[in-house]
């Protein structure tokens, strides 16, 4: 089980700020494939991975990063601080 968190338009497209997900995926990309296959709203949110960033336990990561031991996965658009 991992906690999956969504921000900004990813949160709006999926319609949830966070959820617990049962996954057997080995990598972030595997988890994305599982989520995208669920429903059109997930497919829409994950349609273009170039427009998404991912953080694992609150550290930026790549989509090929392993999920072993990870408790929290966050998906969001490129950041616009400052």
């Amino acid at each position: 089980m991992v906690e999956v968190v969504y921000f900004a338009w990813v949160r709006e497209r999926i319609g949830l700020p966070r959820e617990r997900v049962e996954t057997g995926a080995a990598t972030v990309a595997g988890l994305v494939a599982e989520l995208a296959a669920r429903e059109p709203r997930y497919a829409a949110a994950f349609a273009d991975l170039n427009a998404l960033r991912v953080a694992l336990d609150q550290e930026l990561a790549d989509f090929d990063a392993p999920l072993a031991g990870v408790r929290e996965v966050a998906f969001f658009p490129p950041m616009t601080g400052g």
Partner: protein, 147 residues
Amino acid sequence: MKISVQEAPFDAGAEIAGFGAGRADIGAVVTFTGLVRDDTGALEALELEHYPGMTERAIAKIAEEAMARWALADCLVIHRYGRLAVGEAIMMVATAARHRVAAFEAAEFLMDYLKSRAPFWKKEHGPGGETGWVAAKDADEAALKRW
């Protein structure tokens, strides 16, 4: 080093007045304040969303890197979230160093990294309601390459 992620407004003058106070080794203080700007005449406010927990960690990491790289005497980052009207201060950074070059460079470094590596997202609100998310700029990502 002070880092604050907050919804409430801050008093930039008061922050600057207390910054580096009582130290004899500071020859330069640089401060930057970012405001909500309206480019089109149609913006009323920005709504800043952030990732509680990661935001503080990401800013601390960036600030610690600036402290070490420019041997800063002190460093301050305040970043707001929530709904901010046009003209309101979104954030400020301050850097204190022996000499001005280090203080200026460290402040620019902090700003460049906060733009693209601090987990904030901005939604625009006009008179008729929300009008969309601010997209990240390629130029902001490219700006990181100089460091």
